[in-house]
Symmetry: none
Subunit: 90 residues, 2 copies
DNA sequence: CATCATTTGTTCGTATGTATC
DNA sequence: CGATACATACGAACAAATGAT
Protein backbone atom coordinates (compact mmCIF):
# COMPACT_ATOMS: atom_id res chain seq x y z
CA UNK A 1 0.00 0.00 0.00
CA UNK A 2 2.38 2.60 1.32
CA UNK A 3 -0.59 4.94 1.65
CA UNK A 4 1.60 7.89 0.87
CA UNK A 5 -1.10 10.50 0.54
CA UNK A 6 -2.35 13.11 2.95
CA UNK A 7 -6.02 12.87 3.82
CA UNK A 8 -7.57 16.30 3.72
CA UNK A 9 -10.89 14.87 4.73
CA UNK A 10 -9.57 13.39 7.92
CA UNK A 11 -10.41 14.98 11.25
CA UNK A 12 -6.70 14.80 11.96
CA UNK A 13 -5.10 18.07 10.82
CA UNK A 14 -2.82 17.80 7.82
CA UNK A 15 0.14 19.11 9.81
CA UNK A 16 -0.36 16.36 12.38
CA UNK A 17 -0.47 13.73 9.65
CA UNK A 18 2.84 14.98 8.30
CA UNK A 19 4.35 15.15 11.77
CA UNK A 20 3.20 11.59 12.42
CA UNK A 21 5.14 10.41 9.38
CA UNK A 22 8.29 12.11 10.51
CA UNK A 23 7.88 10.69 14.00
CA UNK A 24 7.41 7.23 12.55
CA UNK A 25 10.64 7.64 10.59
CA UNK A 26 12.42 8.75 13.74
CA UNK A 27 11.07 5.88 15.85
CA UNK A 28 11.95 3.47 13.09
CA UNK A 29 15.44 4.88 12.81
CA UNK A 30 14.98 5.89 9.19
CA UNK A 31 15.73 9.37 10.45
CA UNK A 32 18.65 8.98 12.83
CA UNK A 33 19.74 11.34 15.56
CA UNK A 34 21.26 14.57 14.29
CA UNK A 35 20.11 13.79 10.80
CA UNK A 36 18.29 16.51 8.91
CA UNK A 37 14.60 15.97 8.35
CA UNK A 38 13.00 17.12 5.09
CA UNK A 39 13.01 20.89 4.64
CA UNK A 40 9.80 22.89 4.61
CA UNK A 41 10.06 23.14 0.83
CA UNK A 42 10.54 19.40 0.59
CA UNK A 43 7.32 18.85 2.52
CA UNK A 44 5.50 21.38 0.39
CA UNK A 45 6.42 19.43 -2.73
CA UNK A 46 6.23 15.99 -1.16
CA UNK A 47 2.76 16.41 0.32
CA UNK A 48 1.37 19.16 -1.84
CA UNK A 49 0.62 21.44 1.08
CA UNK A 50 1.28 25.10 1.81
CA UNK A 51 4.49 26.11 3.49
CA UNK A 52 2.47 27.27 6.45
CA UNK A 53 1.25 23.73 6.95
CA UNK A 54 4.73 22.28 6.63
CA UNK A 55 5.91 24.78 9.22
CA UNK A 56 3.13 23.78 11.57
CA UNK A 57 4.31 20.19 11.31
CA UNK A 58 7.87 21.19 12.14
CA UNK A 59 6.74 23.38 15.00
CA UNK A 60 4.73 20.50 16.42
CA UNK A 61 7.73 18.18 16.21
CA UNK A 62 9.84 20.82 17.92
CA UNK A 63 7.28 21.31 20.68
CA UNK A 64 7.24 17.58 21.22
CA UNK A 65 11.01 17.51 21.46
CA UNK A 66 11.59 15.30 18.45
CA UNK A 67 13.61 17.84 16.54
CA UNK A 68 15.49 21.10 16.85
CA UNK A 69 15.90 23.79 14.24
CA UNK A 70 19.03 25.64 13.24
CA UNK A 71 18.09 28.87 11.44
CA UNK A 72 18.96 28.83 7.74
CA UNK A 73 20.43 25.39 8.10
CA UNK A 74 17.63 22.98 8.70
CA UNK A 75 15.82 20.92 11.29
CA UNK A 76 17.46 17.92 12.90
CA UNK A 77 16.47 14.90 14.95
CA UNK A 78 16.97 15.40 18.66
CA UNK A 79 19.02 12.94 20.67
CA UNK A 80 16.44 11.88 23.23
CA UNK A 81 18.68 9.28 24.82
CA UNK A 82 20.53 11.93 26.77
CA UNK A 83 18.53 15.10 26.68
CA UNK A 84 15.63 15.74 28.94
CA UNK A 85 13.40 18.57 30.19
CA UNK A 86 14.69 18.32 33.77
CA UNK A 87 18.24 17.12 33.42
CA UNK A 88 19.77 13.67 33.62
CA UNK A 89 17.63 12.46 36.44
CA UNK A 90 14.98 9.88 35.74
CA UNK B 1 4.88 58.52 -17.80
CA UNK B 2 6.54 55.19 -18.22
CA UNK B 3 4.34 53.91 -15.41
CA UNK B 4 7.13 51.69 -14.30
CA UNK B 5 5.88 50.96 -10.83
CA UNK B 6 4.45 47.83 -9.35
CA UNK B 7 1.00 48.14 -7.86
CA UNK B 8 0.96 46.49 -4.48
CA UNK B 9 -2.68 47.35 -4.08
CA UNK B 10 -3.73 45.49 -7.19
CA UNK B 11 -5.51 42.16 -6.90
CA UNK B 12 -2.96 40.90 -9.39
CA UNK B 13 -0.02 39.44 -7.48
CA UNK B 14 3.21 41.38 -7.72
CA UNK B 15 5.03 38.42 -9.22
CA UNK B 16 2.42 38.23 -11.97
CA UNK B 17 2.81 41.92 -12.71
CA UNK B 18 6.56 41.46 -13.10
CA UNK B 19 6.07 38.36 -15.21
CA UNK B 20 3.66 40.29 -17.43
CA UNK B 21 6.33 42.89 -18.12
CA UNK B 22 8.87 40.28 -19.08
CA UNK B 23 6.33 38.57 -21.31
CA UNK B 24 5.54 41.89 -22.97
CA UNK B 25 9.24 42.40 -23.64
CA UNK B 26 9.47 38.94 -25.12
CA UNK B 27 6.40 39.39 -27.31
CA UNK B 28 7.70 42.76 -28.39
CA UNK B 29 11.08 41.35 -29.21
CA UNK B 30 12.88 43.58 -26.73
CA UNK B 31 13.98 40.35 -25.16
CA UNK B 32 15.03 38.15 -28.03
CA UNK B 33 15.27 34.38 -28.07
CA UNK B 34 18.16 33.02 -26.06
CA UNK B 35 18.77 36.41 -24.51
CA UNK B 36 19.16 36.57 -20.77
CA UNK B 37 16.31 38.18 -18.88
CA UNK B 38 17.08 40.36 -15.83
CA UNK B 39 18.59 38.47 -12.92
CA UNK B 40 16.70 38.04 -9.68
CA UNK B 41 18.84 40.74 -8.11
CA UNK B 42 18.07 43.03 -11.00
CA UNK B 43 14.36 42.59 -10.43
CA UNK B 44 14.75 43.15 -6.72
CA UNK B 45 16.36 46.51 -7.37
CA UNK B 46 14.33 47.39 -10.43
CA UNK B 47 10.92 46.77 -8.85
CA UNK B 48 11.75 47.08 -5.19
CA UNK B 49 10.46 43.64 -4.34
CA UNK B 50 11.78 40.74 -2.31
CA UNK B 51 13.90 38.14 -3.99
CA UNK B 52 11.20 35.60 -3.24
CA UNK B 53 8.81 37.62 -5.38
CA UNK B 54 11.32 37.91 -8.21
CA UNK B 55 11.85 34.16 -8.06
CA UNK B 56 8.11 33.58 -8.19
CA UNK B 57 7.97 35.66 -11.36
CA UNK B 58 10.75 33.63 -12.95
CA UNK B 59 9.15 30.38 -11.89
CA UNK B 60 5.87 31.49 -13.43
CA UNK B 61 7.59 32.36 -16.70
CA UNK B 62 9.32 29.00 -16.67
CA UNK B 63 6.05 27.16 -16.01
CA UNK B 64 4.50 29.02 -18.90
CA UNK B 65 7.36 28.05 -21.17
CA UNK B 66 8.59 31.56 -21.88
CA UNK B 67 12.01 31.03 -20.38
CA UNK B 68 14.43 28.38 -19.19
CA UNK B 69 16.95 28.66 -16.42
CA UNK B 70 20.58 27.58 -16.44
CA UNK B 71 21.73 27.13 -12.84
CA UNK B 72 24.16 29.80 -11.69
CA UNK B 73 24.12 31.32 -15.14
CA UNK B 74 20.82 32.99 -15.63
CA UNK B 75 17.40 32.66 -17.21
CA UNK B 76 16.95 32.88 -20.96
CA UNK B 77 14.14 33.39 -23.43
CA UNK B 78 12.82 30.16 -24.89
CA UNK B 79 12.64 29.66 -28.61
CA UNK B 80 8.93 28.96 -28.97
CA UNK B 81 9.03 28.90 -32.73
CA UNK B 82 10.34 25.37 -32.72
CA UNK B 83 9.81 23.94 -29.28
CA UNK B 84 6.52 22.66 -28.08
CA UNK B 85 5.00 20.04 -25.75
CA UNK B 86 3.07 18.32 -28.53
CA UNK B 87 5.12 18.81 -31.62
CA UNK B 88 5.48 21.51 -34.21
CA UNK B 89 1.81 21.87 -34.84
CA UNK B 90 0.23 25.13 -33.85
C1' DC C 1 45.10 27.28 -9.34
C1' DA C 2 43.38 31.47 -6.46
C1' DT C 3 40.38 35.43 -6.12
C1' DC C 4 36.44 38.18 -6.91
C1' DA C 5 31.87 39.21 -8.77
C1' DT C 6 27.66 37.34 -10.39
C1' DT C 7 23.78 34.38 -10.18
C1' DT C 8 20.84 30.77 -8.92
C1' DG C 9 19.88 27.27 -5.10
C1' DT C 10 18.43 26.31 -0.39
C1' DT C 11 16.47 27.15 4.07
C1' DC C 12 14.29 29.21 8.02
C1' DG C 13 11.91 33.63 10.13
C1' DT C 14 7.89 36.64 9.94
C1' DA C 15 3.60 38.89 8.41
C1' DT C 16 -0.81 39.73 5.88
C1' DG C 17 -5.12 38.47 3.54
C1' DT C 18 -8.53 35.11 2.46
C1' DA C 19 -11.26 30.92 3.07
C1' DT C 20 -13.20 26.87 5.50
C1' DC C 21 -14.82 24.37 9.41
C1' DC D 1 -14.08 33.62 17.02
C1' DG D 2 -10.27 30.05 17.00
C1' DA D 3 -7.74 26.46 14.51
C1' DT D 4 -6.35 25.01 10.22
C1' DA D 5 -4.80 25.82 5.50
C1' DC D 6 -3.46 28.15 1.22
C1' DA D 7 -1.24 32.11 -1.44
C1' DT D 8 1.53 35.88 -1.41
C1' DA D 9 5.40 38.82 0.07
C1' DC D 10 9.34 40.75 2.63
C1' DG D 11 13.73 39.64 5.44
C1' DA D 12 18.11 37.20 6.42
C1' DA D 13 21.84 33.91 5.87
C1' DC D 14 24.49 30.49 3.85
C1' DA D 15 25.72 27.22 -0.15
C1' DA D 16 27.32 26.10 -4.72
C1' DA D 17 28.45 26.82 -9.35
C1' DT D 18 29.96 29.75 -13.10
C1' DG D 19 32.88 33.14 -15.40
C1' DA D 20 36.31 36.70 -15.82
C1' DT D 21 40.87 38.01 -14.44
Amino acid sequence: MTEGAIDHGSPVPVYRQIAARIIADIERGTLAVNRKIPSESDMVQEYGVARETARNAVRFLRDEGYVFTVPHRGTYVTDRTVEGPSGSGG
